[in-house]
């Protein structure tokens, strides 16, 4: 179980995340929604401590993650994989090596420096790529791939970490609808089949509704909604997206899903 206890982060006098308290059970798939700048990305980066909290604690299975340092902190990051909006691959390295970097935390210093990966690790990487339908591009350079393919490489890298938790920061915000569906399906599959807890920031409501049994809404750094998709009523949406939500947000307009492609404005 992952527990956030009054987690707070300030940048100067601006509060990015304010007293966020949450409990997330193992195996949940949670979507986090909110406007740009609501603190979603900061919240995820606090969990794997890419950003240090100003206040509050993170507790995983009874252990205080906020107190970890050095090798223990790196081991926590290895168990808490992350994928990014911009994929964050090493663009000049081939796909296979990118996936193999998911193993770096378990490797000795000299092996890291000399890029000495074992046969077993290579086999595991190819299997991870194959699961995401990318085995045939294993030797291409990462930047030769399309955005959707790069995000799947990033997911394969995350799988190599054999994580307990997967943090996804706007995983589909830079992708077209078809690739967005492929990536979200992959995340759902990892959640269901491998039992990995998935926490994902999403910028569209309907994606959150379609894939997550639990949705968390953030506004100005605070958690203002935590519940099932059914509970996400119009007042709740307004609380998350602010006063501009006074006019009802038409989810079909912002939708990136293929099913909702018949735009109301165009149909007229």
């Amino acid at each position: 179980m992952l527990e956030l206890d009054h987690l707070t982060r300030r940048f100067g006098d601006k509060v990015a995340v304010a007293h966020a308290s949450l409990q997330i059970q193992d195996g949940e798939m949670v979507g986090i929604i909110g406007r740009s700048g609501a603190g979603k990305s900061t919240l995820l980066r606090l969990i794997n401590r890419l950003i240090e909290p100003s206040e509050g604690r993170i507790i995983a299975d009874g252990r205080d993650v906020t107190a970890l340092a050095g090798a223990e902190l790196r081991a926590w990051r290895a168990r808490t994989a992350m994928i990014f909006q911009q994929f964050n691959l090493v663009s000049r390295l081939d796909v296979l090596t990118n996936v193999l970097t998911g193993r770096l935390n378990r490797m000795s210093g000299p092996r890291v420096l000399l890029k000495m990966f074992t046969q077993a690790e290579r086999a595991l990487a190819v299997r991870a790529l194959d699961r995401l339908g990318l085995a045939e591009v294993a030797l291409n350079r990462a930047d030769a791939l399309s955005g959707g393919q790069q995000q799947r490489v990033a997911i394969a890298r995350a799988l190599m970490q054999e994580p307990r938790i997967l943090l996804a920061d706007e995983p589909i915000a830079s992708l077209d609808p078809l690739n967005a569906k492929i990536v979200m399906d992959a995340l759902a599959d990892i959640n269901r089949r491998d039992g990995i807890t998935v926490l994902t920031n999403l910028h569209t409501l309907d994606t959150a509704r379609a894939y997550c049994r639990r949705i968390i809404g953030m506004s100005n750094g605070r958690i203002v909604f935590d519940g099932a998709p059914e509970d996400l009523t119009e007042p709740a949406v307004r609380a998350i997206y602010g006063e501009h939500g006074a006019e009802q947000i038409d989810e079909r307009i912002t939708s990136t899903s293929l099913a909702g492609a018949n735009m109301p404005a165009l149909a007229r």
Partner: protein
């Protein structure tokens, strides 16, 4: 529906007024800076006795040396400069002013020239290696402690701010007369110069890959090895080759203080006023520098080419 001409729109006028004020302020600032710079230039020229009159007086004499070189006076033993004349140019070693006479010690020169190039190679490798290691702690985006970054940067500055000849002169004392002192002097200077350039490349590198490696639980070294090095290495190599070209030139000069190579020989023949040999050595240095510049430019363009559009 009467439409106002866009320039008569009141909001445009307001904008124009503000924009004009801003522009005038900027122009005044630029003028002031130019005036200050011009004043400093005049002061500096007065202080160093740099006058256009003196330059004008010396200018016609620039060709004198070459004029003497190609004057058709017959060779008469020790001339102030070697005299080039067709009738004796291609004669044997015994004839003063012939090519064979000039280059009668070509075997020694070539060995020394090779030594000079080797000095440059070793100094460049030394500088590259040390600069590679030091550039990462000198990169603000990789190190949280600004104090540590500043410390490494000041060190690199110190290494490159001491003139190489002074450094070589100091190093000749402990390491003796010979190439070792020269190699160390050029190597130390290269470390400082390359370290700064490398750290600037590092700071321009895309940090997303580094963040990616940090997120998989990679150590600081792993973040650099996988996130940073693949991005910056082509640039590093390009800079290092450029440095090698500079080092070939430096290593010819550094011999003047007894630090080995062709420079040491050049100083000796200058000391003895053996002008034919001075010219011969200068010619050889010119040839080797041009050849190495051309070669390294070719190789460098390959690296830059492989950088592609996203440098």
């Amino acid at each position: 529906m009467s439409t106002l001409h866009p320039t008569q729109d009141p909001s445009w006028r307001l904008f124009q007024e503000r924009f004009g004020r801003l522009q005038r302020a900027r122009r005044a600032e630029t003028l002031l800076l130019v005036a200050i710079a011009a004043l400093l230039l005049v002061i500096a020229a007065a202080y160093t006795d740099f006058s256009p009159a003196q330059v004008a007086a010396g200018l016609p004499r620039i060709g004198e040396y070459f004029g003497k070189l190609f004057s058709i006076e017959p060779a008469r033993g020790a001339a102030p400069v070697p005299v080039l004349a067709w009738d004796h140019l291609f004669q044997g070693v015994k004839q003063p002013q012939s090519i064979a006479y000039w280059f009668y010690r070509i075997d020694v020169y070539l060995v020394l020239l090779w030594q000079t190039v080797q000095m440059a190679i070793l100094a460049s490798v030394m500088g590259f290696t040390a600069a590679f290691v030091l550039s990462f702690p000198a990169t603000r985006t990789l190190v949280r402690s600004t104090l540590a970054v500043m410390a490494v940067r000041r060190l690199l500055e110190a290494l490159r701010s001491i003139p190489q000849v002074v450094l070589a002169f100091i190093l000749v004392w402990p390491f003796g007369v010979g190439p070792l002192a020269g190699i160390l002097a050029i190597g130390i200077h290269s470390t400082g110069a390359l370290g700064k350039l490398f750290s600037e490349l590092n700071e321009n590198a895309d940090l997303r890959a580094v963040e990616g490696i940090r997120a998989v639980g990679g150590s600081w070294v792993a973040q650099i090895r996988y996130g940073m090095v693949p991005q910056v290495l082509p640039g590093f190599l390009s800079y290092a080759l450029l440095r090698f070209e500079i080092n070939v030139r430096s290593s010819t000069i550094i011999g003047f203080v007894g630090a080995g190579g062709i420079g040491q020989e050049l100083r000796r023949v200058i000391g003895f006023n053996i002008y034919e040999e001075v010219s011969a050595i200068c010619l050889l240095i010119l040839v080797i520098v041009v050849v190495i510049d051309l070669l390294s430019e070719r190789i460098r363009h390959r690296f830059i080419g492989s950088l592609g559009t996203k440098a």
